[in-house]
Symmetry: C2
């Protein structure tokens, strides 16, 4: 059992809270049993699984498990509230760019919770990857991983995308759009472009778009929706024409 805070494995785990260290090492930490279980069941091979002494046997018995004093493990976690299980994984291979029936391009989303929620919603409506850019929050930060609820492992996002690499009819989502997102009848492939929390879509993206669409809202309400909400509604609407719902 690891009982020293100077243990090098533990020190590296703590450093994985920093984006720079994640980028340099190509690794990230998934905190909590649910997330680690989702990674394992998606076939991801952990580099290390840190386990508190009372961690469930399916984690503590893993060949790459390291048992750690409870307080030391909590101290190396970003999200607090004492995860009993933390897995370290290599960055996931990015899905190939350009394919897919409905691709979300979200270059400017800066809140990690929004990034994670968008990954989760996109996975519900399309099997194409979500494309972020270098300005976006890191999808492998603890908060983004938690908000994505394991879908990061089944639908690895692109993190350095450019619109020019994506193939399809480009639909830009903007309050200025003259088209109601629910009235579009577009065939795949579609690229849905959404803006940042504070500034929306830049004029470049709007000009590059084939269609600028808006989500109709009642008058007298707020000027805008949360960016993850807007992306979710747009993905939901655009997927209607593409997906065939399968009964379970």
């Amino acid at each position: 059992m690891i009982t020293s805070k100077d243990n090098p494995h533990l020190k590296d785990l703590k450093k994985l809270q920093q984006k720079r260290f994640r980028l340099r090492t190509g690794k990230f930490a998934a905190e909590g049993e649910d997330l680690v279980a989702a990674a394992l069941s998606a076939g991801r091979q952990p580099e290390t699984i840190f386990c508190a002494p009372d961690a469930p046997p399916e984690f503590a018995g893993h060949e790459r498990a390291l048992i750690v004093d409870y307080d030391l493990l909590a101290g190396a976690c970003a999200l607090g509230s004492g995860a009993r299980v933390v897995g370290v994984f290599a960055h996931l291979a990015q899905a190939p760019v350009g394919g897919g029936a409905l691709t979300l391009f979200a270059p400017g989303v800066s809140d990690p919770g929004n990034v994670g929620t968008i990954i989760r919603s996109a996975a519900a409506f399309t099997d194409s990857p979500v494309c972020f850019a270098n300005e976006s929050a890191d999808p492998y930060s603890p908060k983004a991983l938690r908000a994505a609820m394991g879908t990061t492992f089944t639908h690895p996002p692109q993190s350095d995308s450019q619109l020019a690499d994506l193939r399809g009819t480009i639909v830009a989502l903007d309050a200025s759009g003259s088209n109601d997102i629910g009235q579009l009848e577009l065939a795949a492939p579609i690229v849905l472009a959404i803006g940042s929390e504070r500034d929306g879509l830049g004029s470049e993206l709007i000009e590059a778009a084939d269609v600028v669409a808006r989500i109709p809202m009642r008058s007298g309400g707020p000027e805008s929706l949360n960016v993850a909400m807007a992306a979710t509604i747009a993905l939901y609407e655009l997927s209607k024409g593409i997906n065939q719902e399968t009964t379970k």
Copy 2:
């Protein structure tokens, strides 16, 4: 200028981070210029506006402004990153229960960010109040207020609602639903019931519903959406039959 951390106004401000103190005093704190501006422009009368020495004159010049040392103010805030302006307000009068064309009933949402996001989305699609219950996260917590982006002031939520008080066709949102939420054709008034993050809708709510509807998702994706995303899509769909979009 307040320069002592023992100042009673400042001590009360800090205590407003606690739900119990908010309930006992009937007050809450709105942190940040954007939120305080939204409250003022919605006609809310502040009890106090705490301002850092460099706060903009529209706040620092208010008759109820108190100027506070920058670090002391930051120390009394919940959200960190040093708001220059914090307003203390009395709890808003709750909107009357039971009226409204499309009412959201969300008794079990426990994450304050989700509560705030739901208030914001609901304001975009309906002028009826959002109805929470005592088990929900407090809509007046700092995180919920921030996520609602000022819509809490224009659309004060109900915080101790019961389904029996609400009038309308009850649509329960659940993955087990046999109706596609986008295919319903319902006339107002409608009550949309959504469940909690972890447990979904209880069997009681499902039994009380006139219609149980699901959001169609592709097979192979995640089992569920974030509760705020699901509520947003459902409000968006149900509002289509009710709202008349007004061109700006």
